[in-house]
């Protein structure tokens, strides 16, 4: 009994003999914002994809809220309260912003084998969807086609969709990737507003954001977790300095 | 069990497999390298047969006819690549399917216009138009043995080419990683045209080999092309080895099913119900095989490593 909300043990995944996830242990506690940092190619996205169920691990276990879900398909994990955003924007680009989010709401509103009533005007879907859009500040773009939005807005929409599934755990894969300073600032605000309310696992390259937001940080290098601790502990960790932060912090 | 008959049907199965391989090889290469779906591959099979038929008439020699018809079919393939296929690489698969579907209509009509609606027989020289004796008083046509050995020779040649030459290396690399091939500074346009032309020649060869038995006829490629698709799906799209293994499997299962399934079924059921269900079942056999392969290996038996 470790008491961790998300408990990863000995997780292993290799591609052609190269370990992308090398016996990873990870504990995410309830309500914390846990950041994962690491250099490019450290296997961060591979790790998150295993947590969200898109990639099957070769070995190890993933426990979420006390239940084993190592082999649970992606859609079921989502229904259990786990939501992810994608590093490379992954949306239904030919649909409107509102439709994208409404679909996320719909996924968690019972089965969708409902063939008759129009979905686009269904307040049971649109109202929670609008609420999620407001949470990320996109309410004014609700009826625009997703394709027509800027990169930063796509990232915000990613978060809104994740939120709309009413998750207890958010897996955020580089939400600030490719954003300008202002947009990043806005995203930090969004994440800060969610802190305490949702448990979050955040992958991010923007160190200012990570150190400003995270309760705890794990450092991933070549698929291994080399350190876990509070931002202060990580700053002070010799191994981390050597492997990764070296030139940035010193 | 009549083992002589069994042997003959085995050989017939191998012969069908060889023809399917000739068709499937081009199809799978073109798809593996260019990511292009060519429904009109069967039309090239038909064109090969018609070219050959005409040339045999003109030269009075089957061998000469084939030798001349081969480059002609390749040339046709090259032209088709140049004026139609090339414009489609940037389109999606649905567009490939639709455009090559239009090509089939054009080819079938062109044949009707040029050669007329009735089929064309290809007479064989006496040496080929004879039988050899098998055991048990059975005989087997020499020409079918020629088909089998030609097909196996081509398979061997393709294998050596793909696994041991520079072109083959590019083809293998292209099947798994197109960007890499382009990064090597290869003129991708020329490589595509070459592969398409070779694929056309192989399909044409299959047509030339079958036409002396069935004669060249309009739409002759439209049925066998589907079986060739089944072959490359089972073998794994893009894999020559897969195409060969799957072609043999499909050829044997189809032929053996049609000949012996009723006898096999009679072991389990009344001879009457065996005789009624056997034709339908044997018609379905290769599709059932495909379904089973896909159920366990959605990418086919020998999938190319990375796409």
């Amino acid at each position: 009994m470790s008491g961790a909300f998300l408990e990863v043990r000995n997780l292993y995944k290799s591609y052609g003999g190269i370990a992308a996830t090398d016996h990873v242990d990870l504990d995410v506690r309830q309500s914390e914002l846990h950041a994962i940092i690491g250099p490019n190619g450290a296997g961060k996205t591979t790790l998150i994809s295993q947590l969200s169920g898109e990639i099957d691990p070769d070995g190890g276990t993933i426990r979420f809220d006390g239940r084993d879900m190592t082999r649970t398909p992606a859609y079921k994990r989502s229904l259990l309260g786990l939501a992810r955003s994608f590093q490379i924007t992954s949306l239904m680009l030919d649909m409107t912003v509102l439709e994208n989010v409404a679909l996320a709401v719909q996924a968690h509103a019972g089965h969708s084998f409902r063939f008759w009533q129009a979905a686009r005007k269904d307040p049971a879907l649109t109202e929670p969807a609008m609420a999620a859009l407001e949470a990320v500040g996109l309410q004014d773009r609700a009826n625009d086609i997703a394709q027509a939005m800027s990169h930063g807005e796509h990232r915000q929409l990613e978060i809104a969709m994740a939120l709309a599934t009413n998750p207890v755990l958010l897996l955020l894969d580089e939400p600030m990737a490719g954003m300008g300073v202002e947009e990043s600032q806005r995203m930090v605000e969004i994440l800060r507003s969610l802190k305490g309310e949702k448990t979050m696992l955040l992958i991010e390259h923007d160190m200012d954001a990570v150190f400003a937001l995270a309760d705890r940080i794990s450092v991933l290098v070549y698929g291994r977790v080399i350190a876990t601790g509070t931002p202060e502990e990580i700053r002070g960790d010799e191994a981390v300095r050597r492997a990764y932060l070296g030139d940035e912090v010193a | 069990m009549d083992w002589g008959l069994f042997t003959i049907q085995m050989l017939n199965g191998v012969q069908l497999g060889v023809l399917l391989f000739l068709l499937a090889a081009g199809l799978t290469l073109v798809f593996g390298i260019m990511d292009f779906v060519n429904l009109a591959h069967g039309s090239l099979y038909m064109m090969g047969a018609y070219f050959c038929a005409t040339l045999v008439q003109l030269t009075d020699s089957f061998v000469l006819g084939v030798i001349l018809a081969l480059p002609l079919t390749a040339l046709l393939g090259w032209i088709v690549e140049l004026i139609v296929v090339r414009a489609l690489y940037t389109h999606d698969h649905l567009d490939h399917v639709l455009a090559t579907f239009g090509m089939i209509l054009c080819f079938d009509t062109a044949v009707d216009f040029i050669w007329g609606p009735t089929g064309m027989a290809i007479p064989l020289p006496e040496v080929l138009d004879s039988h050899i004796d098998l055991f048990g008083g059975h005989t087997f046509p020499v020409f079918r043995i020629l088909i089998i050995s030609t097909g196996l020779a081509v398979a061997g040649f393709l294998y050596v080419m793909v696994s041991h030459t520079r072109i083959g290396m590019l083809i293998r690399a292209g099947a798994s990683n197109r960007t890499m091939v382009m990064a090597l500074g290869v003129d991708i346009g020329k490589l595509f045209a070459l592969v398409f032309a070779v694929g056309a020649a192989l399909a044409g060869l299959a047509g030339m080999l079958i036409a002396p038995i069935t004669e060249a006829s309009i739409g002759m490629g439209n049925e066998i092309i589907i079986v060739a698709f089944v072959v490359i799906i089972i073998g794994g799209i893009g894999s020559i080895k897969g195409a060969f293994v799957a072609a043999m499997l499909v050829g044997l299962i189809d032929t053996m099913g049609r000949s012996f399934l009723d006898q096999l079924l009679k072991v389990f059921m009344s001879s009457e119900s065996a005789e009624t269900s056997a034709p339908a079942l044997s018609a379905m056999a290769i599709y059932i095989l495909m379904a089973m392969v896909l159920a366990f290996r959605p990418q086919g038996l020998f999938p190319p490593k990375v796409r």
Binding site: E54, A74, Y75, K76, A83, R84, F86, S90, L91, M92, L93, D94, M95, L103, Q106, A107, S112, R114, F115, W116, Q117, A118, A119, R120, D122, L125, A164, T165 | V37, V84, A87, L88, D92, H93, L94, D95, V97, L98, F101, G102, L105, C106, D108, T109, D112, F113, N222, I226, F229, V230, I232, I233, I237, T276, P279, A280, S282, A283, Y287, P298
Partner: protein, 324 residues
Amino acid sequence: MTSLFRTGLPAFVMVAGLGFLALLPVLAEWVDNIFLIDLFMRLMILSIAAVGLNLILGYGGMVSFGHAAYLVIGAYAVGIPAYYDIYDGFLQFAIAIVASAAVALVTGAIALRTKGVYFIMITMAFAQMVYFTFVSIEEYGADDGLTINMRSEFAGLLDIEDNFTLYYFVLVSLIAVLGLVYRIVHSRFGMVISGAKGNERRMQAIGFPTYRYRLVCYVISGAICGYAGALLGNFTNFITPEMGDWVHSGELIFMVVLGGAGSLFGPVLGTAVFILLEEYLSRLTQYWHFPFGAMLILVVIFTRGGINGMFRWLGMKSGIGGRS
């Protein structure tokens, strides 16, 4: 594949089109050309099949190259009972729908495990399997086909023996199927289907078991084509397995794409263009398939499909657009 009618034709085109179809028999009598009724009846029946195919192809992004198989299954669902002197229309149409749905369920369950070009080829191969199955059944005429002596009987409620009545029966069916598809694509189910077309991975990540929804959609689509097949059997009175040849599946795709995949009325328009052009060209020359095929190639290369794309290519700016 982009299409001007991507999101639907304006309502007046649809109303005008259906109005024209409703008046056609009167028109045909007036110009004394009964053949027109046959032509447009065939057009409407194939439209129904195209609308059914569009449900998965246009809205769901699943390119099935085997939908003619369901036409054959539907036609034989009329023909085989008729062979045993059973003409009960309710029974025949029920068999048509259930049998097509069942075949779609089994083949779809396998085909939907794959993607892209594999899916195209597998649907094609399964259709060919259906075709060869009917070819191999001697009892029902094998490839010589089967003659249907009498059209379906609906317990005295409706008599479609007369072409005039059958015409309106088909028209009402077309409208009903359009209504059904309209409802489906705008429902929650329809949202899942178009979402999965746009981004299946994301749909799974937000909690949809997309495979199930796609399979059900595939089954509905097959059942609609089966229904169209039952109408076709009644219409032609003579059915052969050849109706399920993959070439006809290809034609169905063209009908959908010509009119604009993913729009409600597009397939009807596409079928109309296809059938009327076929009719017109075939009167000009016996070699009409050549210009027809060439036109198909040109449409695909230069417009990426769709009549509207053709307009655009010709430089015609049209104000048709907007979401339906």
